[in-house]
Amino acid sequence: MLDHYDLTVSSDLANLARIADFVAGAALQLGLTEQQVFEVQMATDEACANVIQHAYGPGVPGELHVRCELAGGDFVVTIRDRGRPFDPRQVPPPDLTCPLEERQIGGLGLYFMGQLMDRVVFRSDPQTGNELKMYKRRSP
């Protein structure tokens, strides 16, 4: 069994399905339960869609690097890109209780990531680009 799994794909929404399959395979190999695999897969899908649609943007070429590994007791997904930096503090969380007509349309993907993972850490560096780490505690 490998201790980490890497995938590099171009910034294209057509690669989201491939990323989902890759993450599911790695997460199963690294001992996550079916429910955890689903949660990690979904958080990663939202994160990568954000990179492709916002960090790079439509038609802008670039790469996404996805790594899955164990660190301590956690399963960790790391997503790296060289697109525009992202500040999650600029995105207000959605209000899930407000009436339909007032529901905000944005912010849901980021909200999912926070709900599905135990810890989500964004870092932007002008030299090395953007790095997102998402942590999932493995079931004891």
């Binding site: 057509a14 989902a20 979904m42 899908d45 939202e46 899930l96 993907g109 909200y111 999912f112």
Partner: protein
């Protein structure tokens, strides 16, 4: 990416969604719903063959249900898998949409023209 098949039964349009409803298909999915809602404000999205839905397609559904209700109709969903239902609950969308167990229940919950609307039996 092509649009999704639709059919009309008794004044209700059924959209047959399938596969992964991720950011890649949000545009064709939105276009399918927009065209359906232009013809008829009463729409059912059959989710039987949907394995996953991301925030981008949830947004498309939210815009669709707003449009449908503004026109005096509704956009309902049927046949959600437990996983997809879980995503709806996570987003609080189980409180926004009528989620019906079967296509027949979803269709039956639309009133005949002029009659009263009623909820589909809760799934």
């Amino acid at each position: 990416m092509s649009e999704f098949p639709t059919r009309e039964i008794g004044g209700v349009i059924i959209v047959e969604a399938e596969g992964r409803l991720d950011a890649l298909v949000a545009t064709p999915f939105g276009e399918t719903l927009r065209q359906a809602l232009e013809r008829q404000a009463r729409v059912v999205v059959d989710m039987a063959h949907v394995t996953y839905i991301s925030s981008s397609c949830l947004r498309v559904l939210l815009m669709g249900v707003r449009l449908a209700r503004r026109e005096g109709g509704d956009l309902k969903l049927c046949c959600l898998s437990p996983r997809v239902r879980q995503i709806f609950a996570l987003a609080g969308f189980d409180l926004v949409f009528q989620l019906c167990e079967t296509r027949a229940k979803a269709l039956a919950s639309f009133a005949p023209a002029g009659g009263p609307e009623h909820l589909c039996a809760s799934a």
